[in-house]
Amino acid sequence: MPAIKVFVPRETAAISMGANEVALEIERRAEESGESIQLIRNGSWGASWLEPMVEVEVGDARIAYGNVTREDVAGLFESGFLKGGDHPRRLGPTQEIAYLANQDRWSFSRCGVIDPVSVEDYQKHSGFTALEKALAGGAESVLDAVLTSGLRGRGGAAFPTGIKWRTVAETGADQKYIACNGDEGDSGTFSDRILMESDPMSLFEGMAIAGYAVGATKGYIYLRSEYPLTYQVLVEALDHVRSAGWLGEDIQGSGFNFDIEVHLGAGAYICGEETAMLESLEGKRGMIRFKPPLPAHEGLFGKPTVVNNAVTLASVPDIINRGGESYAEYGVDRSKGTLAFQLAGNIKRGGLVEKAFGVTLRELVEDWGGGTASGRPVRAVQVGGPLGAYLAADQLDIPMDYEAFTAIGAIVGHGGIVVFDDTVDMAAQARFAMEFCAIESCGKCTPCRIGSVRGVETIDRIVGGIDREGNQSLLMELCDTLEGASLCAMGSMTPLPVRSAIKHFAEDFGADRGEEQINE
């Protein structure tokens, strides 16, 4: 009898909840009971609230067991879980879990399914077919497909990927680079991490396709140091892909050379800004650069460089496989395709939900998320990371769409959704936005470096009741200065959470203590 396949995720969220201990215990019990199992450390399906989610292959299906602890393992064996047996932890077939079944899996279609470091497994799930197709079809057809797909940068800025690639392709140089931004610093975001831990080869393939399309032979993945497991997975997977001849010199006899290096960041949030990331990749302080020149013209080491987020690049292989048009069929208006939304903070069912643009924030927070973890009412939702606006509970019907968010002074960003219940102190959140800017500013622009410190002090005075009116107008002026006189998003967007907190939650700033409510 062939060994029974048991899947235990090797992914940060699952491991943070005890997946490694569960895996060891399953192996030990199997050996003890003489059961022949093949333990596969897959990535995560993204239903983080169910982690560690253990699966057993039974016939054609995979039967899932959620929130498994080491203490549960003995009982699982007694219940015959290796044959899909019943148990309080049993969730049923993975594909039928509503949280997953109702998603539009595109960029994350292989996450959780495959062994992330197995080339064979990746190829069984159409891995490297897009690169083959690209090499056969020529660079022009790749550039056309990416442009047609309407894919926009998933890191937050949402710049059209096809236009960026064409700019680099049309810029003459002896050397060009592909730089993958894996410096996922926004709180409430983890889609890059899940992708890189669960399906790293799709990222490598996307980078190689980008390299072929624009004429680059070298790629860098800039990974934040807070993701040590991701680093291990990337390095292992890279090694296997190189050995299989899908990276390196003369890839599969095509004459095309492309290789990738993984570089670690060092705990600086600002290095998620593309030009600061390039400085850091050059071994320097992560100080942002003036633009122009754009990185597409003068990027890494002064050479034309495609800088894309990890999810953006990993979306490309399936766009090549299925055609740009089929990707563009998802989504709304100018927000084409899907985004991996990340449900985080005070939420019952936190995790990754890949869905076509147009889904409402309420559907994500309530239908997928199940409301708050505390069971208390939702009071505020911050979308798009620490530089994103706070939305009030009555704004949840907004569709997730870049333009719809811009219209209300908010951002979709990298798709992070952080939920707060009614115990949140929004003045403390606004203060934190300024404090975070002070801690993480690279220091190049004065409004960001010093204005953020003054912002913290001013909010303290407002909350402390010291000349509340005067300090509120001072804070608004300070926000104007940050917005108008900072080179990058750190300084220019820190006012978003601050302003939105004051606008929607004025009572937390002492407005109910007899002062006039302020307006933007």
Binding site: T12, I15, G185, D186, T189, G267, G345, I347
Partner: protein
């Protein structure tokens, strides 16, 4: 952590393992810190010499990044996430609990341990998150925190 005292020869080997490429300074500093636990002044001098950079360049990079330490850490490093998703799940209260139970403020060290803030571990669906010696833990209540710390101390 099994840090060893700073050693010039080992430092040279580390630099050579990166082909003495100055653009890999951030990566080399990580390797130094993995081995020595921190970046002492002689390391800055040696890096400048061997990579043909100025000491100011190297010092500037070391001081820019939160990861690089100018003072030796404790044997264990406990990092508590302070960012929004964890705040929504009580990281401020958890940090207070950690400070009082460990008798340390954030950024302080004893020989045994260092307590630090961190801004996002990417474990935001299982907040609040804590990292101990490179291992991430999710849904850390005060009680679970005490358990993690006791396990860590028991590993010495």
């Amino acid at each position: 952590m099994n840090a060893i005292p700073y050693n010039r020869d080992i430092a040279s080997e580390l630099i050579a393992s990166f082909d003495t490429r100055p653009e890999l300074l951030v990566q080399i500093l990580h390797s130094f810190q993995d081995r020595f636990g921190w970046i002492p002044e002689p390391a800055i001098r040696q890096l400048a010499e061997e990579l043909n950079l100025s000491r100011a360049d190297v010092h500037g990079v070391v001081s820019f990044y939160h990861d690089f330490r100018a003072t030796p850490p404790g044997r264990h490093v406990v990092r508590i996430c302070q960012a929004e998703a964890c705040q929504a799940m009580g990281s401020r209260e958890l940090s207070e609990h950690a400070e009082s139970s460990l008798g340390l403020k954030m950024h302080e060290s004893t020989e045994e341990l260092t307590l630090e803030p961190v801004y996002c571990l990417g474990n935001c669906a299982c907040s609040p998150a804590v990292m101990v010696d490179g291992d991430t833990f999710g849904r850390v209540s005060n009680k679970r925190f005490d358990h993690i710390v006791n396990t860590m101390k028991g590993s010495d």
